[in-house]
């Protein structure tokens, strides 16, 4: 009998599933988190299972993580996203010692050891300034898709300072700038710079080791990544699909248990 296990990460913005068979990824899914987390969990899981034509009953062990982890009805165990991002990233990049997970509603800086276990972490939440939600709001204000933000900002030769970091006020500030004819790329460069500055502070709190990875949805935003790399003077490791690192970590934990 095959050993099939899964990890599920219910984030504030998106929900991710990774299914492993014999230590290899055989399926994954990523959907937006709906208001009903339990329902989202079912849908994300069903989507991944469908890829390989299996059902929930075929899974030996399921570990849930993420902000909505406690509401996953079918999980055997729950583990925090900090441990899971550490585990997942360590699996892909065994040398990495510092991880920055940038998601929809918060950011986490994580230090890990050679076994991939977290030894220290810092997180910022409470205020949406500088998070994925913040970027989503800016994208809407500029009438762009979230995918376009990063590449566009790289075209800028200069950047403007965005004075309010409040997600709501920045939105109107950005709208006003756009109306004044400031190029979108310039505005975006400024926004990304501001975000990089905020997360830099967070990283400093755990200490930055040169082998450094970024995970979470914002890792897909080259604008933020570039600005951060410039500040740190380091090249960041980014997995092909950084957003599922938490789910992968959860699945790896499940593999150890099930």
């Amino acid at each position: 009998m095959d050993h099939i296990i899964a990890g599920i990460d219910i984030g504030s913005a998106t929900s991710k599933v990774v299914i492993l068979r014999e230590g290899g990824i055989v399926a994954s899914s990523l959907i937006r988190t709906g208001a009903d987390s339990a329902d989202t969990a079912h849908r994300a899981m069903a989507m991944a299972l469908k890829e390989i034509g299996l059902g929930l009953a075929d899974l030996h062990y399921i570990v849930a993580t993420g902000y909505g982890r406690i509401i996953v009805p079918f999980a055997h165990e729950i583990i925090t996203e900090i441990a899971c991002h550490a585990k997942g990233t360590h699996f892909v990049f065994p040398h990495v010692r510092t991880i920055l997970d940038m998601g929809g509603q918060d950011c986490k800086a994580i230090r890990i050891d050679e076994r991939g276990l977290h030894t220290s972490f810092a997180m910022n939440d409470k205020c949406a300034a500088g998070t994925g939600r913040f970027l989503e709001a800016m994208a809407r204000a500029l009438d762009l898709s979230i995918q376009e933000l990063g590449p566009l900002s790289l075209q800028a030769s200069e950047s403007v300072a965005v004075s309010s970091m409040c997600a709501v006020f920045a939105k109107s500030e950005v709208t006003a700038m756009a109306r004044r004819g400031i190029p979108q790329s310039t505005i975006l460069a400024g926004l990304h710079e501001a975000i990089a500055e905020r997360v830099h502070g967070l990283l400093k709190r755990v200490g930055i080791e040169p082998e450094f990875a970024i995970s979470g949805g914002i890792a897909k935003n080259v604008g933020v990544v570039r600005k951060l790399e410039e500040r740190l003077g380091l090249k960041a490791h980014i997995a092909p699909e950084p957003q599922i690192m938490g789910a992968l970590g959860a699945a790896l934990f499940a593999a150890e248990r099930g």
Binding site: A161, S163, E197, G201, K204, R205, G207
Partner: protein, 391 residues
Amino acid sequence: MIEEFEKTIQDRHQAAMQWKEANQKKVFGYLCCLTPETILHAADVLPVRIFGSPEKLQVADEHLVPYGCRYAASCLDLAARGVYDYLDGVVIPNSCDLISKLEYWWKELVPRKGPTLAGVELCPYVLYIAYPEKRTGRKVLDYYKHELREFKQALERGLRREITDEDLSRAIAVYNEHYQLMGQLKELRKRSPLPISGSEAWQIEYASQLMPKEQHNRLLKGQLDQLSQGTKAASGVRIFLSASATDVVNARLYQIIEKAGGQVVSEDISCHTSYYGNTIQTNGDPLTAIAQHSLEIDCPRSTETCSPATYPYPTSRWDRTRSRLEGYNAQGAIFYIINYCECRAIEYPYLRDKIREELDIPVLLLQGDYSLEGLEQVRGRIEAFVEMIGG
């Protein structure tokens, strides 16, 4: 304004380094008005005040939690980045909870590469002064004299020279002249029309903490002569400013106030010489006189010994605030409190009530995070406030 003041203000580090180079003497940094500058002066050291900068923190934020005053953090950050490497020593008095902790961080974060004697590093070194929390009381002077003596001895050990009473008296004479001249400047600012704008007065204050007092005295004397001729006049709603710290960053407040149609005529500011009123006594033991003079500083962090029968609780903060409003005919009071500056934050509501009730003068509270952007955000309030008074 005087060019030399401006030059020093523009690049205070350069100015100090040049002085050092030209005079082949030592420069010490200090963190608060409570520092007995005269003792440093007596030891042939140029005391310059340590200030912050508008730049974002780069090093200190790894060590400091974000729940403390950013002004003090900025000072430490500059030092940790090597900006203050030209200093031969640093004096940190016990002025507020954070400043006194800087003694530790300074030693930890600021690389010391001075000469050593039997493995003990001499310069730059950090000297701490346990300034009493109470300004008045039976044994306060005795205690503080002791602390100052220890401070002087530590300085003597570090510099390998004696500081004699004559040295002290010489320094006292220079500083007394400074206090007198600054007193004259304050008197001028009581006049109406105002012979000098708030920001010009600020420049004089600020420069006085960065350049040798002899030089400053000379320049200021000339300036005062000109001012008392009364050729120039600055106009605007007369404002009293009470603020946590006003170095190059927060001095933007003066400009904002002036642009809005106001003029700062008097202030109660940490990072300022405004706490010095009287001169240092010249008869008797100089160290005692210096201690006595420091104890006269009635800044927000200090308290007093009271007597249930006569005056049950300290009144000096209110007395001071009142005289700064009344004597200068201030029409409005602006309080600018840097976030986490606790002593000011606690005394504010009481002072505000007193100002409103007893003097019927409007009060504006501004809270900031020690940044230029933060100040831009309160610009609108300052404008509204000045308009409210000026009509």
